[in-house]
Symmetry: C2
Subunit: 297 residues, 2 copies
């Protein structure tokens, strides 16, 4: 009885063995090979599984996904963009295993709900703010999946007063305004010369006025999107992870100010927005939850 | 075995007897008496119930509600604003009845899901656009309730490029921009002289430029909020009822244009937004569903 967790990110794959308490061991990570991603993924799974008898695999994948069909279409991996039947492929690798697939945002909220900041919370949101903005929803005690397994796309809530084109083809999505990558792009257009979200956060801590403005813009947009989602879903707890979320007060102070300005209905007035304590591996942890709970029946 | 439906609106109360197929009979409506709303409501229930033995009552109420506590706090009825224990009061009137309370938006989506445009749809939204903007959500086959019974507050999604103060205390909520009352207020500020949403719709049909601009503004904001909610929840069907939603193409054309512009992720690209066929009594129908399903266990 061995359960595996697999995280299909846009730029990296990670896998681990999962224990029944959702703890991970033997975590291993490889770059997502853009030429032959399945070869890289298969090799990773074989190394992590060693000669154990695998009975369950939980997969968290960058969206969009076709949950019911077991197909993923991560935008940043060209060979898979038109759809890759990951569940079928993993099943062929481990014929005795139950295989479960969920979008990374659903894994994120599963992880927060079982072992993180949403433990004991029946209605909450988990966000990741890194190169993109994603998330997941727990509502009335269950993780929402949606029609095609894509519920939780918090990154495509349209935010006020910014009409920036988004990679999805739309305009003014919070991801197009507030992700690390979007914030870097905006800051560079104002004359800042760094290249990463981490550098931008550091520059803001050093008082760089463009970096401060970029993080204020991002934090405000995040706070607005969070307020919209909280009112819509009647939640009072939001947990945010991802590298760019750790940019410090230059991001969080305007985020909290926007929440205070917009989340005014009585049932969201006490809305708590916190930094995740799980860290970068939250999708993998959530994939592990999928595997363990599939095994439990 | 008699089931009753009760609709607690901000300006009127309605009640009816519900059959097991969710059809209503003996529908009766009274103005919400702002001096003594419970006296008006109790009298209405007694008349509708006649001498039948009432075994179930479903209540749909204007929000906010405290669902688990059975308390309503409709903003527009002063004696109840601080909270009125409607479930306890109705139970004292019909001691043998199971009594169920849900916010009007949850009743709306229940009605659409059981007998309207969301039949057979596991993931969808129902909106009402009248003096306010409200709604309800069906997700993964269930009507969402949320932490306090207030899930579905679509009216407080923050929309782009409009910072109008909202009655909730926030700014830029779609209700503050796109409801009938908000649209009338905006049109009057531009020099239009009518007073109701119905008049505004008629003026737009007659080509009045201010009325056309007011409906374009409302339709665009509704389309943006719908796009945000559809991406967040992974739904592909939206049904809109309420008097102001029947303002015709001057509202619907910009609404559809905004959806086409913003709902661009693959899983929402086929998003269908339709006018409700249930009509004004949808909350009462949904309250009837609550009663019948409570009776069925």
């Amino acid at each position: 009885m061995t359960a595996l967790a697999l995280d299909i990110g846009a730029t990296k794959f990670a896998a681990a063995v999962v224990d029944s308490d959702y703890s991970l061991s033997g975590v291993r990570q490889v770059p997502a090979d853009p030429a032959d991603p399945w070869a890289a993924c298969r090799e990773l799974l074989r190394i992590v599984a060693r000669d154990m008898s695998v009975t369950a695999v939980g997969i968290g994948a960058a969206g969009p996904v076709d949950g019911p069909g077991g197909v993923i279409s991560p935008l940043n991996l060209a060979p898979w963009r038109a759809g890759f039947p990951i569940v079928e492929q993993v099943r062929s690798l481990f014929p005795d295993a139950v295989v479960r697939l969920a979008i990374d945002g659903a894994c994120l909220v599963l992880a927060e709900h079982r072992v993180g900041g949403l433990r004991g919370v029946d209605n909450g949101l988990a966000l990741t703010v890194s190169s993109g903005v994603g998330g997941g929803i727990v509502a009335d005690g269950r993780v929402l999946l949606g029609r095609t397994g894509n519920a939780g796309h918090l990154g495509h809530i349209v935010v006020p007063c910014d009409d920036t084109p988004c990679a999805c083809g739309g305009f003014g999505c919070v991801e197009a305004v507030a992700s690390g990558m979007s914030s870097v792009r905006w800051a560079r257009a104002q004359g800042w010369t760094g290249t990463t979200g981490v550098e931008l956060g550091a520059a803001a801590r050093d008082g760089d006025p463009i970096a401060l403005a970029a993080l204020a813009r991002a934090g405000t947009a995040l706070g607005q999107a969070i307020s919209s989602a909280a009112a819509l879903l009647d939640v009072d707890r939001v947990v945010i992870g991802g590298g760019f979320a750790r940019s410090g007060e230059a991001l969080w102070e305007p985020l909290r100010a926007a929440v205070a300005r917009h989340a005014r209905l009585a049932f969201v007035r006490e809305l708590s927005v916190q930094l995740s304590t799980i860290g970068d591996g939250a999708t993998l942890v959530g994939a592990g939850v999928l595997a363990v709970e599939a095994q439990a029946g």
